[in-house]
Subunit: 343 residues, 2 copies
């Protein structure tokens, strides 16, 4: 089966020869070939270079044989377009200045923010050409809430108390920020789609740190608006949430095709809870990739067996692949998923 | 109502005049009086001094008016008794050497490990004397799985891949470690009870990072064994789990009196899911304590309203109080819980 057809059909819960497999962060620090490029350029320089993005995006297709490519970029790129400084160091992403006041939120660029990061769309075009139809290409962006949390905290944060303070003391400021982010991300994803991505994924990495009630208020409507805003393109939409067992009741209200979940809950349970209305992506526990091949094989089998028969499974990890993994281990997972999935 | 009677009755889901309130980490870094002591001694020196532990344990009783005291100590203390080095720096706890092999696990002391940390039981005795019945005293320990994760990783860990590797490649080594920990923690808590604690809490802080299937295998039986092993004392048992929405089905199998949960799920939902068979502790979101008093008041009201009528609510945060909180804010929460709870 053609890999693009297989992926799109899986998203739409139509029968396929086997579940497609790709891996979150499949082009990344675990690869010596990626590290060789990062020895020469910073993470943001890499993101801003369509040529380098193309080279990196294709690495896992060639080296581990995944069934889909995902644009090499970062979920925080739209923040750069809006006028914030985005950088990365050993401790993770840095966004400055951190947004704390209504005036700071009001000062963010909306119109033109999408055009500021046109290097992303150029990367998509170059990647599509380089792929020449071998596998489908996923585009992506951060969910408004997750982007807002990074922007307000100024990066990763253990307690996210600056966000919590805004939730309690100035929810209307947070909502204004989320509104702007939803507009920018919608346009940003439309550009990616225009440039050729076959599927888009929205990452709500931090949504699960909130209660269902807060997530319903501060994430669901904004992500849903983005999804509605790109629906006419016909491109399947994947929603990823980390640590989301308490959010399932809200996740089912998202107008998307695929729910991508972490390793905490079996796919069979989510499938039952969502009434089979979504394709499901995931959810092998990333730590298994630090183990011997037999354990990787067993984990792939357990995931496929748990999902069970019927269409709508996109094989993936439950979270991104980590730098302590070997390329051989990643390839072992891909090989196992391909072999075991073809039944 | 006598505070000890109120607390014990709440644990047993018997009617009380109002829900008792205490706060996880209520004696800690947010208090200038605590910081003044820490300027002079290290965290472990403080833990090893019954006199200083007594002084610190009583601080929140005097300063914010909580309804219960909790022994000042750390969940990792039993690891010290077993022969590991436990210390604390800016990045959190350090346990060395990290346990990775069967031989290292086999080398851990079990018999006598409880006696190695007899300073804890002496602290309990001195605290009980100092409290002279004003409020009840909670003792505590880490759950075997949480202790094992710290011991294997050598401290806090983002991915916990050393543990994951052991889960896949050497589960029998992990089980041997958990077995030892369950034995030591049982004795450790029995000593605390003998010395006078009125209630014990077992912290499974990292349990929620595992799937339900893994938690059922690597946490439930060991924590349950501890609970069974102290049941005859008649002291109520509280179980705390962070991030446990996917574990509820397993948590209900714990032979304990109180389930303490984080802020992700409303208490009303847990109460419904557990059929009212447990008292519930929690679950105000800790970040609200960085906000103005009106928000603290509203959060207290929301939590009490959500729990609703009927006995069995112990008011608390959903996780520990953080260093960025003021003593006045902590007191505002206690005052609000007392006022609003008395209906």
């Amino acid at each position: 089966m053609d890999p693009t057809e297989r992926f799109l059909r899986a998203c739409r819960r139509q029968p396929v020869d086997r579940p497609p497999i790709w891996i979150m962060r499949q082009a990344g620090r675990y690869m010596p070939s990626y590290q060789a490029i990062r020895d020469k350029v910073s993470f943001m320089e890499l993101c801003r270079s369509p040529e380098l993005c193309t080279e990196v995006t294709l690495m896992p297709i060639d080296q581990i044989g995944v069934d889909a490519a995902i644009l090499f970029s970062d979920i925080l790129i739209p923040l750069e377009g809006m006028g914030l400084d985005v950088s990365f160091d050993d401790r993770g992403p840095r966004v400055s200045p951190p947004l704390r006041t209504a005036a700071e939120v009001d000062g963010l660029r909306v119109d033109g923010a999408d055009e500021e990061v046109a290097y992303v769309y150029e990367a998509v075009r170059q990647i599509k050409t380089a792929l020449s139809g071998r596998v489908p290409l996923l585009g992506f962006a951060g969910a408004p809430l997750t982007l807002a949390i990074y922007a307000i905290e100024g990066g990763s944060s253990r307690n996210r108390h600056s966000v919590r303070k805004m939730v309690y003391e100035a929810p209307e400021v947070l909502e204004r920020l989320l509104d702007k982010l939803a507009t920018v991300v919608t346009r940003y994803l439309r550009h990616q789609i225009d440039a050729g991505v076959d599927v888009v994924q929205i990452f709500d990495t931090w949504g699960g740190t909130m209660s269902l009630a807060d997530w319903r208020r501060f994430s669901l409507p904004y992500t849903a608006r983005i999804m509605e805003g790109i629906k006419d393109t016909g491109v399947p939409i994947v929603h990823y949430a980390l640590d989301s067992a308490h959010l399932t009741e809200g996740l089912v209200e998202l107008p998307c095709d695929v729910l991508s979940v972490d390793w905490r809950q079996p796919l069979s349970l989510i499938r039952e809870q969502t009434g089979g209305r979504f394709a499901l992506q995931g959810n092998v526990e990333p730590g298994v990739l630090t183990c011997a091949d037999e354990h990787i094989y067993a984990a792939a089998k357990a995931c496929l067996d748990d999902y069970g028969d019927g269409p709508g499974h996109i094989f993936n990890l439950g979270h991104g692949i980590t730098p302590d993994v070997s390329v051989a281990a990643a390839k072992a997972l891909v090989d196992a998923a391909k072999e075991l999935g073809a039944r």
